[in-house]
Subunit: 429 residues, 2 copies
Amino acid sequence: MTKTTWRIGVAGLGVVGSELVNFLFERPRFAPGGVEARVTGVSARSRTAKRRTDIANLPWFDDPVALAKSPDNDIFVELMGGSDGPARAAVEAALAMGKPVVTANKALIAIHGRALAALAEATHAPLLFEAAVMGGTPAVKMLREAMVGDDVQVVAGILNGTCNYILSEMELGGRAFADVLAEAQRLGYAEAEPSMDVGGFDSAHKITILAALAFGAAPTYSAVEVAGIEDIELLDIRLAKDLGYRIKLLASASRSGEGVSVRVHPALVPLDHPLARTGGVLNALFMQGTRIGRIFIQGPGAGGSPTAAAAAADIADVMTGLVRPVFQSPAQTLTPIAPVDQAQTMGRVFVRLLVRDEPGVIASVTETLADGGVSIDSFLQKSIEGVSGVPIVLTTHDAPESVLNEAVRRMGQLPTLMAPPRVIRIARV
Amino acid sequence: MTKTTWRIGVAGLGVVGSELVNFLFERPRFAPGGVEARVTGVSARSRTAKRRTDIANLPWFDDPVALAKSPDNDIFVELMGGSDGPARAAVEAALAMGKPVVTANKALIAIHGRALAALAEATHAPLLFEAAVMGGTPAVKMLREAMVGDDVQVVAGILNGTCNYILSEMELGGRAFADVLAEAQRLGYAEAEPSMDVGGFDSAHKITILAALAFGAAPTYSAVEVAGIEDIELLDIRLAKDLGYRIKLLASASRSGEGVSVRVHPALVPLDHPLARTGGVLNALFMQGTRIGRIFIQGPGAGGSPTAAAAAADIADVMTGLVRPVFQSPAQTLTPIAPVDQAQTMGRVFVRLLVRDEPGVIASVTETLADGGVSIDSFLQKSIEGVSGVPIVLTTHDAPESVLNEAVRRMGQLPTLMAPPRVIRIARV
């Protein structure tokens, strides 16, 4: 590892790829020790697309796999995206020949992480993916390196800037989900096909990766319970606030005696909690270990410049000789995460009902809960202008989730209900 | 670097050292890849002192320098403290023979960092000090590795848990500084000789190290402007809160066209700012770079277990082959930080006066400021029970610090003043 120049191949020249190429043009000696990083090949879907970087003088590869295999670069940087197809083929090709890989591809690592780690470790090639989670905010490095040897209990936070922006704007502007989403699409904060973000799948890819690092397990995307924010109504945001909460899309991984639970779902967070105070496109994460205690980190979760900076930090790690298992333990020792039985999981929920204004409604709701063994923490009935029917919201005390689900199911059968009950978990962070 | 066992010598067996030895007893294979870390020698002031770890079966060294030089350990861990004396001698001895050093000694790195880095780089020995700043919260790793190649503009935060605890308790309990300090000493949160903490010097050591990492400069302790919290009165805390601020001991390093400014001083932070919401013994830090943007990190800043975890993370970094310059650039290229001229520094201040209740007092105060070219942002006159005289507090708009200082000096000459003006900067974070 006494190279004085590392030659970099970059596949994918979108916002992040263009920023990275520009950065390496401007600061080829950015890594400590003055070693040089020089871009020696690029690949993208279109050679002539309009982009923020001038690639006219760089060797061009139509096929990213050919770039990955080229002897003219020492590190392959994959910024194309997609869990399969060319991204996976190119990363596999580079690792198979022992070439270090830096990627921002969360889907690829979440779904094929264990197999890729095994390949990387077999050929002693570093496989780094800081840019895959929280953009420029180094969540991966913190879990992998700073909390090494700690018994991590919980990792939980806000990992999708698009959802956080939409929820923040709904509250600030008093606007409906569809309205804010359409605006976010116009502004380029949300994709034309938004389900990867608003459906919670992007967060699920990211928490899969963090859970694997936190618990020394195989990335197990299939074990993640995923719910998105599409059904969150402005009414819920307002009523939650009346009770002292803000609704966030929470991604969490926690370990208990029963196993590991990995989830993405909307959750109520107390208004004075640091996660509730993480607004707009920011990301934030709590990490809790038995030795280090509780660390909170907040920063830009996306964007070309921060994400390119994270990829550059990974490139510097390769150049300065970092050699670690891809996850905490060698790939062949990693076991998948088995979902925890919901009956064993305790929780609290926020329930919002829309009922007809008739005598005895409150009694019927509270009796249904009491019969189900669920006790109420707070209760609010409130008429809201423009909303037909009477909204009732309540929060419960701790109960097994299976008990909560059954009580809500029975509440859904009450004849006074004008719509199915809306249930949102209260965060345990 | 294909060792299967790394032998660890630990000098200093206080709270942190004992926790580290216990951790290595319990988890010798904590580092990724299953390589073993085994304690093969210890040294401390007293062999028989009561401590939380059993060292009866470990080779004992009366002299830490002999432990540092011993061929029976591969990594020397220095947890004794003190910028000179045995700690410095032992670290120098280890580095001189090319042995990796892990230390929690902020004073040593802040004062002798450049010379030690030069020694370490000459013998290719890693010199790591994550545990020196913010305990288990990886500020050093973030600046050194995650923000590599970024142009860092500002690093600012709360780096001393003792001061933060005292200020928090003064506000919560409505108690005087001396009262809370005495209690903190009884509880073991503050030293019998508290000036290192409350005088701001501990924070100054830490911000010296962070500034060097952030700006690729030599650690320059002598360039830090230091003020502690000894003179903060409960009255100031209360009046600041009336104006929407909380008083914190702020350590900051910022770069501008005029140069780098490194400072520790009490500062007013807006109540809804994350630093204002960092209470008790927590530490917190903002890092801002042109590429990554603004990252906030918060966590336990001290304590045996988190600090030992940070030292363990450094040990794992040595074991997995990390080789970087100690600061961002090779030691011989590091230049010291030159203090910025105050006349060039803009700022806002909070001024608290105690005046006799006479006609024309407000006019004389505001005229003095106006004559000095300082404009007022907010102004509050308020009688407070138990306080003789009338407190007046005001906050200014931005002005050169030299102009503010002169205006305050002139205010100090007003005949109606019962005490010298108290001036506290308003944070620019």
